[in-house]
Amino acid sequence: MKNIFYFLFISSFSTLSLASRARLSSLQSQNHFSDTENIFYFPTKISETDPFLQIESGVTNSTTLSDGAFAAGLVTLNKDVNLAGAVGRQDQFVGHERILFNSVTSQNFELSQNPIDFLWSYKNKGQIFSLGLFYSHHNDKLNQIGESTQIIQTGYRSGFLSFALNLPLVNDVTMAGQKKINFSDSVSASVLYEIESLILSGSIQYFTAVQKNSGTEVTAIDFQNFEFGFSDRTDLDKSHFFYRVDVLIQNIKYKTTHLKDHLNQVPLTMGIESEFNEWLVLRGSVKQTFLISQFETAPNSENNTQAALGSGFKFKNILLDATFSGLIGSAQTGALNGNQFLSQVAITSWF
């Protein structure tokens, strides 16, 4: 078991294991890559990742999970214990909860303010245990605006299986006009089964959110999200390609109006990543639902084909990742020029 574990560890950290949000954006943000971002999804990955320091460019007041500035790092305390942390990074689960709530209720509640995240992992006889804490707090007493977030993050890996469990303890936001939302019964759990290039993944997220204006309940929603993924990767000399099929099931129940939304989708993703030389990596992917794409109240089965291209530049132990801004996103121009070149730039130093 121990040998298998170390084999997995080595094989999952190939020369193409660059990092950053830009890399994952170019590859459709899939969780089957060995990447610095994945330590926040599966904290046990801390024990499978080399020490690094990463700086992501972005805005100070982020409104999405992909536009904020942050820094992250990982250090090895000894051969069995690793520590990781992040400053400014939005937690993907709580951030997703707030963005989704804002989206379905047309509100503008803020994301976590000045967040910090600490993660610890311990490796013992082929097993990995991890524990983390995410914290943020903001309180503008004059304008009565603020938010609080506290999340316990846990992880466990044994052999081919990795688990992650996130338990938000506090998740409250207040905005002007005495509007307040409280997220409760919130939980997200994920599992990853990795055997060589084959990866199966699953995740469940659930929360209840209640918005009160001046103490009066105006909106309450229950949210459930189930995701199951299957991916396979083919590694060739200094390059690889992958395909992935997911099944997404999402249910939203509006408790105030007794309306419901359902989303069922089966997206297919294909991607490539290849080293041109010792300093340049090109990557790209395309994602689209096929056969099943249903959503009750919006034309969700409309075209959702998205191509994304990006690059990575290696300078000794420094990696600079970026997306090609003209070649990413649903409204891309298809152009690669001086005005639309690199975006979402991140620098990662491995040591």
């Binding site: 083919t234 060739l236 000399d237 200094k238 390059s239 390609f241 395909y243 297919l268 294909m270 991607g271 490539i272 290849s274 080293e275 041109f276 030389n277 300093w279 340049l280 090109l282 790209g284 992917s285 395309v286 689209q288 639902t289 096929f290 056969l291 794409s293 009750e296 109240t297 919006a298 034309p299 089965s301 409309e302 075209n303 959702n304 084909t305 998205q306 191509a307 291209l309 530049f313 300078f315 090609f324 003209g326 070649l327 649903s330 409204a331 891309q332 121009t333 298809g334 152009a335 690669l336 020029n337 001086g338 005005n339 070149f341």
Partner: protein
């Protein structure tokens, strides 16, 4: 600094060996075999290396060449291959929808939504067979806007002789006004023959399309389209690439069945082009097309330019020799090991080319192909 300089050079000239960008830069010449030509000539698959191809573009594509798409070719065994594609808008569907959307007063119909396609190729002795199908479906139950398409492809290659048949089996759409578009038959038959450096091609394409208004029982629009296109191209291989010269004779007839009026256009387009390796990693390509000697059209209906090439929107417009239609296209390809990045040189391509290669008008229609 050296790295940055190389990077600037590399991205200042990019376009390549496959993809929409390559086809555009070479004016869709008859002789090309490419990741994009497999859709209309499925027998091409067996002559291509396995690949993953990504085309940058819009999620909400409005034409056959501005949408994002991806495809993959893989071996099933030594004598067969399978090709999968998502996002590709097919001309057997889009031709009719573009035509109807270009008619004055029509509320726009959607393009294909989230299309998927699969093509299977297999070798039987010296014969290569191709069989494929595509599908798309969209139904917005809130607004009742819909679209649906399905088609079938058959093709075979016997040495220097090849044929292909593309059938549009389903092509229907309902727009936001509740009007219904139907195109019950699309048929394209293509014959190809290679003789030394010469490539011959004959294509016959026909389709019918009609529209029935929301409140109507019978169609208020009904049109038929026929295109006969005979082409020949002489391809000369050189040490670093190839150049080609060709000509064609194309006759397009469109009939407004309800008004019993026709649009006829006959042209003899000339094509010149070249593709060459500048060095190990850079490919340059370009082409020019223009009608010569024969460029005649008569339009009793007054079809719009958005509906038909050569139409002007003027009833009874007639040209015994048309105005300028000279168009140059240029592109580059950067070959990086197994990856090829293709693009058109934006400032040098199309009817309104700025004639610039600079930071603003540089690369467009970028595609990435990974061969394995």
């Amino acid at each position: 600094m050296k790295h940055l300089l190389m990077l600037v050079i590399a991205f200042s000239f990019s376009t390549a060996f496959a993809t929409k960008a390559r086809l555009k830069a070479l004016s869709n010449s008859l002789h090309l075999t490419d990741t994009q030509t497999v859709f209309v000539s499925p027998y091409h698959l067996m002559s291509l290396e396995n690949f993953v191809a990504l085309e940058a573009g819009l999620t909400t594509a409005t034409t056959v060449d501005n949408g994002a798409e991806g495809s993959m070719l893989m071996n099933v065994n030594s004598d067969s291959k399978i090709f999968l594609s998502v996002g590709h808008l097919d001309e057997s569907v889009q031709s009719q929808r573009k035509f109807v959307n270009g008619i004055a007063g029509v509320t726009a119909y959607k393009t294909q939504q989230n299309p998927a396609e699969i093509i299977y190729n297999w070798k039987d002795g010296s014969t290569v067979w191709g069989l494929g199908t595509y599908y798309s479906n969209f139904n917005n139950k809130l607004t009742n806007e819909k679209e649906s398409s399905a088609g079938l492809r058959l093709a075979a290659s016997y040495g220097d002789f090849k044929w292909k048949a593309n059938f549009g089996l389903v092509n229907s759409a309902v727009n936001t006004a509740g009007d219904q578009l139907n195109s019950d038959t699309y048929f394209n038959l293509g014959l190809r023959y290679n003789q030394n450096t010469l490539r011959y091609g004959l294509d016959l394409t026909t389709w019918n399309v009609s529209q029935t208004l929301n409140a109507g029982l019978a169609p208020n629009l009904s049109h038929s389209y026929q295109d006969i296109n005979l082409r020949v191209v002489d391809v000369t291989k050189t040490e670093t690439g190839e150049y080609f010269i060709g000509a064609g004779l194309q006759q397009v007839t469109v009939k407004d069945k309800q008004a019993d009026k026709k649009f006829n256009r006959t042209t003899l387009p000339l094509i010149l082009g070249a593709e060459t390796k500048a060095n190990d990693w850079l490919v340059l390509r370009g082409s020019i097309t223009q009608s010569v000697l024969v460029a005649q059209s008569k339009d009793e209906v007054g079809y719009s330019a958005a509906s038909l090439t050569g139409a002007t929107g003027v009833v009874d417009a007639e040209f015994s020799a048309e105005a300028n239609n000279t168009a140059v296209a240029a592109g580059v390809g950067v070959v990086m090991n197994k990856v090829q990045l293709d693009a058109t040189l934006k400032g040098l391509t199309g009817a309104t080319a700025s004639q610039n290669i600079n930071g603003t008008d540089l690369l467009a229609q970028v595609g990435l192909v990974y061969k394995y």
